[in-house]
Symmetry: D5
């Protein structure tokens, strides 16, 4: 089981947002995310839902597919990998807003979903 390299975000390519003036939303659903459990080495599976409002750049879909594919043999916890993917996308795209939802397959009779947003919401407690 390999470590996911910090430079794997270089796999992500971008193209210029064709409508910079309008705040519009791009929703991307990726049902084929898979990585490995860092404890047991066994496969984990998830559907990723990315929703972002582009600033000057949009993510190129083929490179996004390859980036997602780069996690296939990498050990990653649910919470950490969701935040890491959002960090990579924010680093490459600097979007106006972004949200990543990772719905993991059932493990031990329990279904886990992690939802991370950029910028981090600030709410009163």
């Amino acid at each position: 089981m390999q470590q996911h390299k910090k430079d794997s975000r270089n796999i992500l390519e971008t193209f210029e947002n064709p409508n910079v003036d309008r705040e519009y939303t791009i929703q991307i659903r990726i049902p084929e995310f898979t990585c490995l459990c860092p404890k047991t080495g066994q496969p984990d599976f998830a559907t990723l839902h990315l929703e972002y409002v582009p600033a000057s750049l949009c993510v190129e879909l083929k490179s996004l597919k390859n980036y997602i594919w780069s996690f296939r043999q990498v050990g990653a916890f649910h919470e950490a990998v969701t935040n890491a993917i959002l960090d990579d996308l924010v680093a490459v795209l600097t979007p106006r807003r972004a949200r990543l939802t990772a719905e993991f397959n059932v493990r031990g009779g329990i279904y886990t979903t992690v939802v991370a947003e950029y910028p981090s919401p600030v709410r009163d407690r």
Copy 2:
């Protein structure tokens, strides 16, 4: 593969809003949008969801069907074509508000949806 001509918006016809005084909403779903991928020349497919609040004009449905049909052999990226169709509708209708959602069919295991609104939302970051 042709270029979509800027004057194709002339295909769109309008009729007078029968209730100018009331702010009401017209929702239109078009499951049969198809264009070509500008990179590969292969067909792309989408379901379009248009929702608008008319001002003085409404879009005539038969002309809308013909307008949508005019993209059949045109090369168009997902993000660009969604914004372009909204621009055409806004230019012809000058609606109080409008939103276009384009749900594209899966490509490379990835599902993309683009949502554009008029006027562009203005939110704090």
Copy 3:
């Protein structure tokens, strides 16, 4: 094809709201609306969703069924007929609030829904 007579709203009967003090909501779904296309004379079909907060009067259901039935041989455009039915209901009931949603069957590969509210919403552009 007949014209829908302005006095057809007289078909609508009312009864006294049994709980005038409470602002509560009555939702009514009518899947069997049909009228004729004014251009082609061919039948159109819709499901109507009425939601209103009664003031002193409620609409009697049997009379509502007969009122809806009175459109069967009448020529009516989607946008106009939705607004006209809401106008009739408001005229007869003077409700605190009302909203009529008309989901028309597909025509030319396009699905149209019209949503009208009373009082008309007032929003900033």
Copy 4:
């Protein structure tokens, strides 16, 4: 066809809210409500959805079942009976908030749902 007696609300029993300090919500769905139409004497059927935030008391479920059952041979209009059941529950529980939704079965091709809240919402027109 009997009249529903005002003291039928005595059927409802309560128990002490085990967490008075926390504002939490109890949702109860009852698909087996039936009463009689006061005009025709024929049976009516509804699914009731009760949602309330308890104050010091919660409703005991078996007594609620018996209370609902007490309407079986009682004549009751849709709007009136929904408001009456909410009144009974509020009288017995004095909840922080409550909402009763009654989805009646189709009659004459028309589906009716009544939604009543306590305290009655106060909104600007």
Copy 5:
């Protein structure tokens, strides 16, 4: 039928939140909760939905499974057990926010769901 011991919350284990700076959400669905009815001793079943925003700690899933399992032979009322589980999770995790929804299986033709939040919502009546 045993009493659930106050120290059963010690079954719950935690790990350090890998992204303390971002307010993100973890959603956990557990369809296999079962306990006993304190009145009749008969089994009750529920699906639990936990949603929380972690502060410095996240709940470890295997320990959560074992904690849920510890209720199997314990007598517990719907409202009380939902609040107790939320209390245990809050005591162990001190999350920024948490909500527990317990959907119990039908009993006596009635479906009950209990929804508790931390911190308790404060709303005007």
Copy 6:
């Protein structure tokens, strides 16, 4: 709780089959069957599915509705009442074939459906 009278099948009215020469099928779904549990006196509910191939007579729908209604205050076990209703329909209609399926609502966490056919199927064991 009354006994269902043997002559209640007289409620059922018939009309002449308009196409005696063709073996065709009439399917009738009745979601509003209710009777009482003979043990506890509490209400039971079921959806009935009748499917028959008429010979010389068809069942008139309004009389079928009234016949179904006649069970409202009658004590009846699931298995017995399903067979009794089929017997009544066969006695009145003498159909070529008939099948009655009664889907009862959940009781004690258990869902029961009874399926009876005329003529009784004869199969090898």
Copy 7:
């Protein structure tokens, strides 16, 4: 309320089956059938499902739409009209096989579906 004229089947037009040698199936779903109840004069609605194996002729769809439309103001019982439409289609097409299923909307809390086949099935009782 008019009588449906025996020559209304002349509305149906045909075209030559392009593959006479192969026994293939054409399935047609028509959700917009409406006629009148001969007793009350009130509208009835149905979804028709036609399935046939053509011999030398296929039914032309636009003429089928017009034929269906010709029942709009005609009084017709469920069982009779289903058999009559099948008779008309068989008379015009002489198909190898045909089946017409008419799913009528709920009336009096009862859902009726009529299924007729050509040639009439012959089964042992």
Copy 8:
């Protein structure tokens, strides 16, 4: 973890089939079966679907509920327990035919269902 006692089938009670002459079918769905994994001692869950054609006896539902409940703390493999429950039911009821389908909850990413019939089907290989 206890062993399930061979005499637990004595929990099952019967009543006389009210229609011995007709071969009819009783379908019973039980979503609340739970036992323990004999290897790990952890809980297993299943939905049971029983379908049988009674001979002289029917199973009484309350006793069936108690019988199912008797497995709660018993160690049992999927295949063995499904066959054992069918054996018990056949021993007590001697039905004309019976089939038991046990849909177990997901374990290790794998969903298992076991289907056993009485009498055992005999088919050519």
Copy 9:
């Protein structure tokens, strides 16, 4: 609007069936078929369902995609094009069995599906 050339079936490529000895089934669903209406020149859309039992050859999926794509600007009637595609596949694959189902989008309020099999079924009338 072009004519579909008889040699377009040359687009279809094959590979050797890896398990000639076993009669197994390959099911292929293609939601993106589009051609033109020969009468009006307007676009038609369908979902194709192919199911075949290969003999010595299987169809290569990329070539199948290109073959389907070759109908994009071709005029074709529903019944004819379904049979023609099946003919092309049979000519290229000589499968043990094949069935093609073409579900066309709604036109004029009517939904058409064509189902063709190879070899043509032979049934008694």
Copy 10:
């Protein structure tokens, strides 16, 4: 990309069928199959449905999970891998009957499912 070793079937473990005398069915659904495309090296995903009637042996689920996992980095065509997995299971279990259905995720807008049975069905053409 590795080749799948012929001895990988040794991963599969068995246990003795607890009911050899009864022909019963075990259905297993595995939504997490993944391998690599032999042409492009890119990941493929499928849901496997196994249904078998055991003779003297049943497959142990944990070993089945590991066996499925062994394909993760192996290049395999859809048709070949489905047949190979069925071959492995038949070799290890010698079941009375078995069927494997592999539903692959969409590729190039096309959905492929392969269904293989043991023993191979023999039908007349």
